[in-house]
């Protein structure tokens, strides 16, 4: 976790590095040096950040009051969690009551269909912050997985054939820079036209968000996979020619393994983009998720709103970071190249 130090090295901001190092007592003995680097340095940096934030926020006066500092945000974090717990309790109470009523109805010998109807009623409480987090995660993963399932095979095929590459390249190059939000109206219209079902598996809003994510996740994975596949070392291809490997063995033993690092670069880019896109799409389309939470709080305009939005912002950043780490961990287990750097 010495990312901070590394990026300083890149730009040679020695004074800042020294300052942080000093604050973190970087000049301790060698044995504690490692601890200092891995724990104290980032910790100090965060502390400095929080102090600056606290000091700076007080200077900014908005129509909803002073910009909240770390303390206020922490307070709202707890409040949001408490609301979630309370909501859960309410839901539990609701189902308990329902069970009792159903029991009573059965005892009274009511007809079976009426009991079924009673049972099928579900609790319709407010979605809490934590619920929204899981909605967003589920949506982004769905969109991302669908995109990957399409993009990886397409990338492999395109990377292997020069002709196909030339055929697909213009299409990819044109669609890649399209802002995801431009897709959203189209996706919404198409989904509501095509996805007509009395008993839908997924809600339309979920599909809209997921498909928008898919459309944005496709391109980096396709491009990077294709580049990885077409970049297989010529020597290794010669090895496969001398061995007369079949197309399948060649793909499995030579092309795919050597394309894996690039493939994962694409997947990580895709997931990062997908996560950002999803939040924006949820805000714009009022689809359930963290984006909607932010938008609702913004519209709400209570004295706590800004702090709550900040909680959401931090949560979004943190989840994005965890998603990327997750992909990296996956890459490390799948890839032969164990030296893939954590960055």
């Amino acid at each position: 976790m010495s990312i901070a130090i590394r990026s300083h090295k890149t730009f040679e901001i020695t004074w800042l590095e020294n300052a942080i190092g000093f604050l973190a007592s970087d000049r301790l003995t060698k044995t504690t040096g490692k601890l200092a680097r891995n724990v104290l340095v980032p910790f100090t940096a965060i502390l400095v950040f929080l102090l600056l934030w606290a000091a700076g926020a007080q200077q900014v006066q908005t129509s909803l009051g002073v910009l909240p500092g770390p303390a206020k945000v922490w307070e709202q974090t707890k409040a949001l969690y408490d609301e979630h717990v309370a909501e859960r309790d309410k839901a539990a109470a609701f189902y308990e009551r329902m069970d009792k009523r159903v029991e009573k109805a059965i005892a009274a010998g009511k007809p079976a269909e009426k009991i079924e109807r009673m049972k099928s009623r579900s609790y319709t409480g407010k979605e809490t912050f934590i619920d929204q987090i899981f909605t967003s995660l589920w949506t982004v993963m769905t969109g991302f997985v669908i995109a990957s399932l399409i993009a990886i095979p397409v990338g492999i095929v395109i990377g292997m054939s020069q002709t196909l590459y030339q055929a697909f390249n213009p299409i990819i190059q044109v669609f890649k820079p399209v802002s995801p939000l431009a897709w959203l109206p189209l996706v919404t219209m198409v989904v509501s036209a095509v996805y007509v079902s009395d008993d839908p598996w997924f809600s339309k809003s979920f599909l809209n968000s997921a498909i928008t994510v898919t459309l944005c996740c496709l391109w980096p994975t396709i491009i990077n996979t294709a580049v990885g596949v077409s970049g297989v070392s010529k020597d290794l291809i010669n090895v496969s020619r001398v061995l007369k490997l079949s197309w399948f063995t060649k793909t499995l033993k030579i092309v795919l393994p050597s394309a894996i690092p690039m493939m994962f670069t694409g997947l990580r880019l895709s997931l990062g983009i997908g996560w950002m896109v999803l939040i924006a799409a949820e805000m714009l389309a009022q689809n359930p998720g963290l984006g909607k939470f932010v938008w609702d709080e913004f519209q709400n305009g209570s004295s706590n709103s800004l702090a709550r939005i900040m909680v959401a912002v931090i949560a979004i950043g943190f989840i994005g970071f965890l998603l990327d780490r997750g992909m990296l961990a996956l890459q490390r287990t799948v890839s032969w190249d164990k030296s893939a750097v954590l960055r």
Binding site: V242, L243, T249, K253
Partner: protein
């Protein structure tokens, strides 16, 4: 007349941005079974190109290559290649790299247990049994080259083609590798064509040294028959008169090519081309004999 491997009037022209580039012209060589041949010549003259044509990785634009009287049209495991940069698959262990080749070549003729045994045997041959499970990244350059050789040997090729197999190694490791190669060659009696830049290596290992003229339109300049007793020992040879004579011949050839570059090459190519093709071969062999005396 029918030799084991016949490189028959091979020429190759590459299309480049500046028009066609004739790299090889009229390369003519007959190789007997079990013979060890070295190709030596200045950088960029077309040695790798010759080797790749024999391997089938490149297609000659003129002439062709015959192996046991059958024309070579595509690459295949009967002409195994040891690449200069080893070309092991980095995601496979040492064992799996060799096993991939063994599985491919002996799919139908050997059982699973036999293939396992054969893989281990070939790695034993190059003294790599201690590192079967290591990945190429985890072994030294010399060890990688050994595995590359084991992989090629395991295919039981008719001809073993080696493109500067020891070029990237330090001299001590190279010495070891040359000795192992001589041992293996004595045991298996492979037919080998090896490219090298190292004069000592060429004289020590070869039965014949093929010295190539400078490109473009490179061809065979001289052929030197090395008639030193086998097994050869580098220490005793260091003092040997014949050995030093052969060595001097190769050095002289390379030096002349280097100093007199263009005009001399052109003149010689002209006389070579003027002579009948079979005569050229004969002349070259006579020259070789003369040098051998």
């Amino acid at each position: 007349m029918n030799s084991y491997l016949n490189i028959d009037h091979v020429g190759i022209t590459f299309p480049t941005d500046n028009g066609p580039l004739n790299v090889l012209d009229n390369v003519n060589l007959k190789v007997e079974q079990g013979e060890f041949i070295s190709l030596i010549g200045h950088s960029g003259c077309g040695k790798s190109t010759v080797l790749n044509i024999v391997a089938g990785l490149l297609q000659a634009t003129e002439g062709g290559v015959l192996l046991e009287n059958r024309e070579v049209r595509e690459p295949g495991p009967d002409r195994a290649v040891v690449f200069q940069n080893h070309s092991l698959l980095p995601w496979l262990s040492v064992y799996d790299n060799v096993r991939l080749a063994v599985d491919q070549v002996f799919k139908r003729t050997k059982s699973k247990a036999e293939r396992d045994e054969w893989t281990r045997h070939n790695l034993e041959l190059v003294h790599m049994s201690h590192a079967l499970d290591r990945k190429p990244d985890e072994i030294s350059g010399g060890m990688k080259q050994r595995v590359g050789i084991a992989r090629a040997l395991a295919m039981e090729p008719k001809v073993l083609l080696m493109d500067e197999p020891f070029g990237a190694l330090d001299s001590l490791t190279r010495t070891h590798m040359q000795d192992s190669l001589m041992e293996i060659q004595a045991e298996l009696n492979n037919t080998v064509i090896m490219i090298t830049h190292d004069v000592d290596e060429a004289v020590l290992l070869s039965d014949r040294i093929i010295m190539m003229t400078n490109g473009p339109s490179a061809s065979i300049g001289e052929i030197l028959q090395v008639e030193l007793e086998r097994p050869r020992d580098r220490l005793s040879l260091a003092e040997d008169r014949d050995y030093n004579h052969y060595r001097a011949e190769v050095v002289r050839f390379l030096h002349e090519r280097h100093v007199g570059k263009r005009p001399q090459t052109a003149a010689e190519t002209a006389t070579d081309a003027g002579a009948g093709q079979d005569e050229t071969q004969g002349a070259q062999e006579k020259q070789g004999l003369r040098l051998a005396v």
